[in-house]
Amino acid sequence: MERRTFMEIIGAGSLILPPLACGLRRPVAAGPTFLDGIATTCELCPNKCSVLAVVKDGHITKLNPNPDNPKSRGMLCARGNAAVQQVYDPDRLKQPLIRVGARGEGKWRPASWDEAFDYTAKKLSDIKAKHGPEGTLWSSTEGFQEIFFKNLGQAFGSPNVMRHPSLCLASVNLAYSMTYGTVPSFDLLNADYVIMAGANRFESIITPDTMDLIGGTMERKAKLIYLDPRFTVTASKADEWYPIKPGTDMAFILAMMNVIIAENRYDKAFLESETVGFEQLVEHVKPYTPEWAEGETEIPAQDIARIARAFADAAPRAVFYAGRRSSWYQNDFQMRRAQALLNAIVGNWDRQGGMVPNQKIAKGEFLVLPWDDPKAARVDEVEKAFPLASAKDGVYLPLRENLLKGQPYPVKGWMIYKQDPLHALPDQGKTMKMLDQMEFVGVIDIAMSDTAWYADVVFPESHYLERTDPIEVMPGIWPAAVYRQQVVKPIHDTKPCLEIAQGLAKRLGLSDYFDYTIEQWVEAEAKELPIQNGLEHMKQRGVVAVSQPKYGTTRNPVHRFLTKSGKIELFSDRLKEAGHDPLPVYTPPVQPSGGRFRLVLGRKATITHATLTNLPWLHEHNPENDLWIHPEPAAKLNIQSGDLLEVSSSVGQVRIKARVTQEIRPDCVFMLHGFGKKSPWLKRVHNVGAADSVLLETAWDKVSGNAAMHETFVKVVKA
């Protein structure tokens, strides 16, 4: 029987019309009208939801969801709604600032743009003269204008352009790429059986997965099995929640494969034609029985076996969901590889309700004058230490280690765009040392982040609602291209990243590489959109989408996967050659002892990125973070909710209030991210609560170099 598709679920019969199927922006039951909102794209997280901004008398009064975007599914989350408060925040950065006191003292001198550009260009040139262009580091977080910042670093000649994936999803992306040659999406809208491990999709919103999971589990009654040391909102909606022993997910997955293979529940035909290494996998998983896994995971063997059978029976409409932020453990890559193999053996590849390769939307490209390749190798030595990892993204924590040692060469200048390394990286003390040893630090941001507070020059960027950005393509089962256009003129003396890059480029003799306007850039991109009058369309509607998913396009004998063998690689020769396990081998994680707890991290729908905690409408729901601790250990330590605690790891110590709750395993503690700020300009969270980054120790995944942020044990005592 044909299953319901996206169109049927959110289309006919509901209040939202399918994307592009109607000429009305926000049709409602009471009688559709046309609203003159300005179409743009949210920037408060990487989901890039489409927004219609309502402007009255030059003032943004409301941001509404734009239903044209099939990925955002007609929603705008709490953070997206609160974005207006960033624009009108009286404490935001309003003009360039140059430090006059000691670093972190907070003495600033307002400067003109010319002055800030001259000053910065001089510092960067001095460093270049002394240490070469590789003496500078350019780090940034995902954003539509990130490209201009990266280009400036590269045109300057630095190999050290550092992106954010190695603090986030580098391990999961690499694991699926090594197996399938691509990173697929999961068709949660149509899956009948979903297993999620630590991916708290109902609090940590990923579009369209969060909404599709609601549709799947609550409207179609799909099964959701959820593993997490915390009882999250996702746990509360799951059919079964297992507070798995942290760090043992791989044991659970290997045991599932053991059952599925032993009981011949795998997709034989698919494995024969599309994969390599099944024979080795059969042997490999033999010792990993459910009884063995019970000892590791604390999940009963019969439950593991039952889930394995149900999963295989539901396939291909069954997925073990990959997760997004995968910076968890030092074996994270191998754990995600195990997931990828489990998905492969039940043959859910490229099937409705399974794991689906992404579609893209074509767009044009603005061709810039190419610069020379950097002469020096990267300071993080990624090619040498992590040959399988993405060299262009870099590995952040190994970079910090090298940099602190001055190895293989000194790096003395740090330019930062849209990132707060003091919170984004584990071990704040170490990041502080890294800042200290810099001769120059320049930050481009919209607010005075903690890192900006310790910088030498702060460049105020225009808010996303005040800028026009490049067109961005979002690959997926429902791919879309989105456009961010200026909604209001900058209300302060701020500039978009491109103009900041151009200002610096001019003084660094690099103007030739930046000889264009954002309008020219966007025009070139819009030309090749799969729609007539692409630019006009984008200005009107903000999004181009292909509304129908395509399943099975790679399920044909001529299809070659982008792997060495051209097949799905269960056994990986490339891993073997690189000195890693070609099949995921389980090693029990070290467990906390001596009364210590494992610190686990996570997000909630109102608090994800560290920069959001200061927004009044979000802060109202999260005035202060606290430490979740189970009643059992709390009783032993004589801790009650509200007590002030002293929490310490091998690298730092914080004071934070206790929340005694059953919603966490007794051997773990948890705290929200983004509190305990040092910058007084973030006044709601300045010295309020505690920063997780102070406690987190430095560790990384061995294959991808991704940060391992769930490997820190802490001691908890009453303060």
């Binding site: 926000r26 009208t33 909102v233």
Partner: protein, 187 residues
């Protein structure tokens, strides 16, 4: 159904599928933004309930706001006529006439009203009547990732709201108040 007092063509109401609520607060923040609700007070909110013993825990969320009662006690007690009800059922407060006596806050069985510390008048959910009058959905309804709330006209048999009430089991909160609440919670 408490629709007997409806004499006009339209009777606005809301269906709430609370099981789909993930407590993400998008509706709460959207309401603040749409209606310039001051910090610290709320026109809509999510009631949370956790029960059970680890690891057998349960958690539920209930979106709440004014129930736009068919026979609203808030309107009955208002001494100035500032609290009033439109023909389509939407209960409003006319700020100009509100003297801030707070009788209505006490009279409301659903705790739906607050004293606005800035204007010293009483505020509450308006079903975003200004949006509804333009043919749009209330802000909370539109922004929700789960589409927990369904807003519409009880008297329109073609509306999704009408169809849900015709085909699904539901309850209203505290029916014994006699207020005739118009928020229908699906079971």
């Amino acid at each position: 159904m408490a629709t007997k007092s409806v004499k006009t063509a339209q009777r606005y109401a809301m269906v709430i599928d609370a099981k789909k609520c993930i407590n993400c607060k998008a509706c709460v923040v959207a309401c603040k933004a749409e209606n310039q609700v001051p910090l610290g007070v709320f026109r809509n909110w999510i009631d949370e309930e956790t029960s059970g013993e680890y690891p057998h825990l349960r958690m539920s969320f209930d979106p709440e706001q004014c129930h736009h009662c068919a026979d609203p006690s808030c309107v009955r007690v208002c001494p100035t006529g500032a609290s009033w009800q439109r023909e389509d059922g939407i209960v409003l407060v006319n700020e100009d006439d509100c003297i801030g006596c707070k009788y209505c806050i006490i009279a409301c069985p659903y705790d739906a009203r607050y004293h606005n510390p800035e204007t010293h008048t009483v505020g509450k959910c308006t079903f975003c009547s200004h949006r509804v009058d333009r043919g749009e959905l209330p802000a909370c309804v539109e922004t929700c990732p789960s589409k927990v709330r369904v807003f519409g006209d009880l008297n329109d048999p073609k509306s999704q709201l009408h169809q849900l009430l015709a085909t699904r089991r539901y309850e209203v909160k505290n029916p014994q108040t006699g207020n005739g609440p118009q928020l229908y919670y699906l079971l």
